[in-house]
């Protein structure tokens, strides 16, 4: 994936470029919104990772300009401002996701990868298929190797999210945000319990465990 990182803090930028490169992505770094805009206009990027507060042109201004120009590349906002209204302003400006600093690296990578995938699966699919696991979005049924799996509504949503991001790490925070639609710290890892229940339903009795725990990051559904 080609990623444009727009960040004025040199240390943060270095760490980010290094981490994303390690994860197998091609990363370009711009030091502020104005340079970021110039670089973005060259085209060819899959995701923009944009710091919200920068000199010259800030993240909001940069993303608004890009969206006005018709650039629909997914944007992940990074910000030290974590209040609800800040998140809302960021998303309104055209960002697709919002990550509050400081963040765990695994969280950043998971979110960046989720964003790029989102674009690919933008079309209206009625069936999701990962390995021998099949999900019918209309009938709301799930089969593995032809065997029907009975899921609770929330388990269905959870599995749908995992299937849409199959092969990628998804973090607990992402799951709480995207599946439950809550932005708060659940203290104990309540998400883990939901995952283990889902795992018991889709993996039990099958040779291959699809729902895997990624150490220090979260979970990944593997074909």
């Amino acid at each position: 994936m080609r990623i444009l990182v727009v960040e004025d803090d040199a240390d943060a930028a270095t760490a980010m470029v290094r981490g994303l490169t390690e994860a197998g992505h091609e990363v370009t770094h711009a030091v502020d919104g104005a340079f970021g805009l110039l670089e973005a206009q060259k085209g060819g990027y899959d995701v923009y990772v944009v710091d919200r507060m920068m000199p010259r042109l800030d993240g909001i201004g940069m993303v608004e300009t890009l969206r006005k120009d018709g650039d629909q590349t997914p944007v992940l906002f990074l910000s030290a401002l974590g209040e609800v209204e800040d998140r809302v302003t960021g998303l309104k400006a055209g960002a697709d996701d919002y990550l509050v600093k400081p963040y765990a690296f695994s969280e950043l990578i998971a979110r960046v990868e989720a964003l790029s995938r989102r674009r690919e699966t933008g079309s209206v699919a009625t069936m999701l298929k990962v390995g021998d696991l099949e999900m019918n979005l209309i009938a709301r049924t799930v089969h593995r190797a032809g065997q029907e799996i009975d899921l609770q509504p929330r388990e269905f949503q959870l599995l749908e999210f995992l299937m849409r991001h199959a092969g990628q790490s998804v973090t607990r925070t992402m799951l709480l945000e995207k599946v439950w639609e809550y932005h708060f710290d659940p203290q104990t890892n309540v998400i883990d319990v939901h995952i283990s229940r889902l795992r018991a339903k889709i993996d039990k009795g099958f040779d291959k465990a699809m729902l895997q725990t990624v150490r220090g990051a979260g979970y990944r559904l593997e074909a």
């Binding site: 609800v84 708060f184 319990v193």
Partner: protein
């Protein structure tokens, strides 16, 4: 040049202003009285002179100039208040109490004049009071001048003027003295307030304005100042307490992290372990620290919002949905621990609140209930509308509960009861809940739970009570 301080004070300046206004008013009154009295005196003298003139011309018309002459002499000898002069056609004096006519350029008809004449007062001093007189030509060519003194009026006006000046003098003196007294009194009172302000500026938050309970504005100002200082001192104390607590609370995870890193360094150098594990531990500790910081910040923000009497980013939503989501989210974790989890949620609990913060508050109390209730116990979430219309969320558990004396304390920052220290936690969970309630105009209530339950108990019931949405 600087004036003595008292002369620069507002009350003294006001006194001077009022005195100046008074002097101006007195002068105006004096002027008016003078003008009015003078014209009145003139009019009176004129009327008298005219009737005397008519009487004299009557004598002349009936009996001729000699009779007039006799009448004049007669009247002059009889202490008449009038001054007379009879002259021949050329102006030479025939008879009268004057040496010459004050009208030197007499032509024809009635000619009036106001002039000073020479007189002596009872003590024999020469005075020059004003007189009003008229000169006419008689049919036979002689000229007659009749005048009357306006001296009485003059004396009256002189006395009046004198009296007014004296009054003004007294008023000025008293006013000045009063102004000085009021200024001094006010300066003392203000001085006391200023002293408090200066003391506070210099860092003494315990300084308070003396209050006399007189109910005047200065007393009110003093009272207001004291209330403000009480609140300031309270929040300073709470900030200091929080600061101390944060420093204290951050020290233990920092110390722990440092120790682990040190051990890891030694082990890694000796080739005994993989550095990755140690780094992971360090990262976890750093995350804990960050969480603590974030929670403290959130509490501060909520309390600031509560202080300003508003809720941050409120939205209108059904609290029943929120409660159901929380029940659904926490039920598996609760059952995994071997707790009976149940939820009773009334429908249609519209509320205007900050959804993420309220979710966090609810999550915190459910999480606490699950954390502190031993396996085999029960946790129950309830959401309902009270008969008062308020929305109530309550979480009841069958854990050890919180002794009555500690229930107020557990909401304070970083307070962890002795029996909870073995559990992970920052001691900020309930503080955050309390702050969320405060920012929503709600409250948190801690009560005893259902009592003994399967060998545990008495349990704890935590209720969050919120006002319903205004238009729901």
């Amino acid at each position: 040049m600087r004036l003595p301080s008292i002369l620069r004070r507002t009350p003294f300046r006001l006194t001077l202003l009022f005195l100046a206004l008074f002097a101006a008013a007195a002068s105006a009154i004096l002027g008016y009285v003078y003008v009015a009295s003078a014209s009145e005196a003139r009019a009176r003298a004129e009327t008298a002179v005219r009737s005397e003139l008519e009487s004299l011309t009557g004598i002349y018309k009936e009996r001729g100039v000699d009779a007039l002459n006799r009448a004049l002499v007669d009247r002059a000898l009889n202490d008449s208040p009038y001054l007379y002069l009879l002259m021949d056609a050329e102006g030479s004096v025939i008879t009268g109490s004057l040496n010459a006519s004050p009208i030197s350029d007499y032509a024809e008809g009635e000619q009036w004049i106001t002039y000073p004449y020479t007189d002596t007062d009872p003590e024999g001093r020469v005075t020059r009071p004003q007189a009003r007189g008229v000169q006419v030509r008689l049919a036979s060519g002689e000229m007659l001048f009749v005048a009357r003194s306006m001296g009485d009026t003059e004396a009256y006006l002189a006395r009046l003027t004198q009296a007014l000046w004296a009054a003004m003098g007294i008023v000025l003196l008293l006013g000045l003295a009063g102004g000085l007294l009021v200024s001094r009194d006010l300066e003392r009172s203000m001085g006391r307030l200023n002293k408090v302000v200066t003391a506070v500026q210099e860092g003494d938050l315990k300084a308070r304005a003396p209050v006399r309970n007189s109910g005047d504005e200065l007393d009110e100002l003093g009272l207001g100042l004291n209330v403000m200082l009480d609140r300031l001192e309270g929040s300073m104390a709470s900030i200091r307490h929080a600061g101390d607590a944060i420093a204290h609370d951050l020290r233990s995870p920092l110390t722990r992290m440092r120790a682990k890193l040190e051990v890891a360094l030694i082990d890694a150098e000796a080739g005994r372990i993989d550095g990755v594990d140690a780094l992971q531990v360090a990262l976890d500790e750093a995350d804990t620290l960050l969480k603590t910081f974030n929670t403290v910040l959130a509490i501060a923000r909520l309390q600031a919002a509560a202080g300003a009497g508003r809720t941050p980013d409120p939205t209108l939503f059904d609290a029943a949905d929120l409660a159901a989501d929380m029940a659904e989210l926490y039920e598996p974790a609760s059952e995994d621990k071997g707790l009976e989890f149940s939820a009773e949620i009334e429908r249609g609990l519209m509320i205007e609140a900050n959804r993420p913060f309220l979710a966090q508050a609810l999550a915190n109390i459910i999480d606490n209930a699950i954390k502190y209730t031993p396996t085999g116990g029960a946790v129950m979430l309830r959401a309902r509308r009270r008969s008062s219309g308020e929305i109530e969320f309550s979480v009841t558990d069958t854990g050890p509960g919180v002794p009555e004396g500690d229930r107020g304390r557990v909401i304070e920052r970083f307070v962890r009861l002795d029996n909870s220290r073995t559990e992970p936690g920052s001691g900020l969970g309930l503080s955050l809940v309390g702050a969320v309630m405060e920012a929503h105009g709600g409250r948190i209530q801690l009560d005893e739970g259902p009592g003994a339950y399967g060998g545990f108990g008495p349990g704890l019931r935590v209720a969050l009570v919120l006002p319903p949405a205004a238009n729901a």
